[in-house]
């Protein structure tokens, strides 16, 4: 049976629906991170909690481009919510790479899907990026307004290696999430015949 590879209205609506669920769950998780310090690990918690949503989506996203669009739509909503245009750009790139990773070759496997999910979840870094993108001008301004010790101590607390650690942390969380997601798929959605 030939499958049409062009995206149809039905697919676009599926993307919109899953994007909404993903975002709502992300917001629920976000209430956990009200304490500013915890907000750094939010993308990691999101990667674990939202995994079943992504996994279920992937079973319905048979065409190339759907994962890209899912990421792009989520990124767009976050951008409009106020997290900056970088979120959209990063989401699109992560989504595209995840899409390629998942659909490369003829057959899908759990490994490919998991790898795709690790890449997909990295979009969360973009939400925190402004904090690190402050740049030298910011620190200069900081030392002028608040004194050099402030500027120095903050600089010490946000060294450049935080970002790679964050990326690694999200990847690990995504792997955990992936296994959690697969368990949920088997336990509920396969068992009840929804997929």
């Amino acid at each position: 049976m030939e499958k049409k590879m062009k995206l149809e209205v039905k697919d676009l609506m599926t993307i919109g629906i899953f994007a909404t669920i993903y975002i709502v769950v992300k917001i629920i998780v976000g209430f956990v991170g009200v304490i500013p310090i915890l907000c750094v690990i939010l993308p990691m918690i999101t990667a674990v909690v939202c995994a079943p949503i992504y996994m279920l989506f992937v079973t319905k996203a048979e065409k190339f481009g759907m994962i890209t669009l899912l990421a792009a739509v989520v990124g767009a909503v976050m951008m409009i919510a106020g997290y900056g245009w970088l979120t959209l750009v990063v989401s699109f790139v992560c989504g595209l790479l995840a899409d390629v990773m998942t659909n490369i070759g003829n057959k899908r496997s759990f490994g490919k899907i998991l790898a795709g999910y690790c890449i997909f979840s990295q979009w969360g870094v973009a939400m925190l990026a402004p904090v690190w993108m402050q740049g030298d001008a910011y620190f200069k301004d900081l030392s002028e307004t608040m004194g050099k010790e402030f500027s120095d101590s903050f600089r010490a607390m946000t060294p450049p290696w935080v970002i790679p650690v964050l990326i690694a942390g999200i990847a690990v969380a995504a792997v955990i999430g992936g296994f959690f997601g697969r368990k949920i798929m088997k336990k509920h959605f396969e068992r009840s015949g929804i997929i």
């Binding site: 609506m13 106020g82 900056g84 509920h188």
Partner: protein, 234 residues
């Protein structure tokens, strides 16, 4: 006038988006506190005019509180933790005007209006349609979530601190599974209804919404230019 071409006296989502992008610079780098505050007040004005006053008040008050708290802490002796809190607060505080404009866009744009406006921008349907679905579906999922939360409370597996700490993944399972299955079912019904009413990719849609720019759009675009200059160069 009811049922005629809808022309509301308010800015179109396109100019609102432009404004949002123009002020994104406030998140990064070096912006004078006075400029940020002016931006917060301006966004509050927008919310009062086109959304709810209570929402505007909430955001403006939060901003003022954070700003005051920072400066109060600065007067205290220099403990490292205080430094950290102050700086974190000063960074997070800058998100507030963006949150405000975002709230304006997301709460006052209807899916139909959004589709019509994006079509004007020649944005491909593959992008605008899923986003319009998010606008439509979001309140529904929120309702479902409240319903599930009530059901969890009744079963004693609610989102209490104890439950989340003791068995976090299980609690997540209790939330995610009903939310997913309910949303999928509703999503299917929504899609079927939309398709049965001719939503398609082939031809351009027309719209009962009049999405031409009005005076508010021009004013907003002017404000966008002004703030962009203030943020970037001052």
């Amino acid at each position: 006038m009811k049922g005629d071409q809808k022309r509301r006296s308010r800015p179109n989502v396109r100019s609102e988006l432009l404004f949002l992008l123009a002020i994104n610079g406030v998140l990064i780098g070096n912006v004078k506190p006075a400029v940020i505050f002016a931006l917060v007040l301006f966004s509050g004005l927008l919310l009062c005019l086109f959304c709810r006053i209570s929402t505007a008040a909430k955001y403006v008050l939060t901003y003022c509180l954070m700003f005051s708290a920072e400066h109060l802490l600065m007067l205290l002796p220099g403990i490292s933790l205080f430094h950290f809190i102050i700086v974190i607060s000063s960074v997070l505080r800058k998100f507030i005007p963006c949150f405000m404009v975002g709230c304006l866009i997301l709460e006052t744009t209807t899916p139909g209006n959004f589709l019509a406006s994006m079509q004007r921008l020649h944005m491909p349907k593959v992008f605008s349609l899923p986003f319009a679905v998010v606008l439509r579906f979001f309140p529904t999922v929120k309702e479902d979530w409240h319903s599930i939360r009530s059901a969890m409370k009744l079963r004693g597996i609610g989102l209490s601190f104890g439950n989340v700490i003791a068995h976090p993944l299980r609690t997540v399972e209790y939330i995610i599974v009903p939310l997913l299955s309910s949303s999928i079912k509703i999503g299917d019904e929504l899609s079927a209804a939309a398709i049965a009413r001719g939503l398609g990719m082939e031809r351009d849609r027309t719209s009962v919404y009049d999405v031409r720019f009005c005076i508010w759009d021009h004013l907003l675009m002017l404000a966008a230019a002004v703030f962009f200059v203030l943020i970037t160069f001052v």
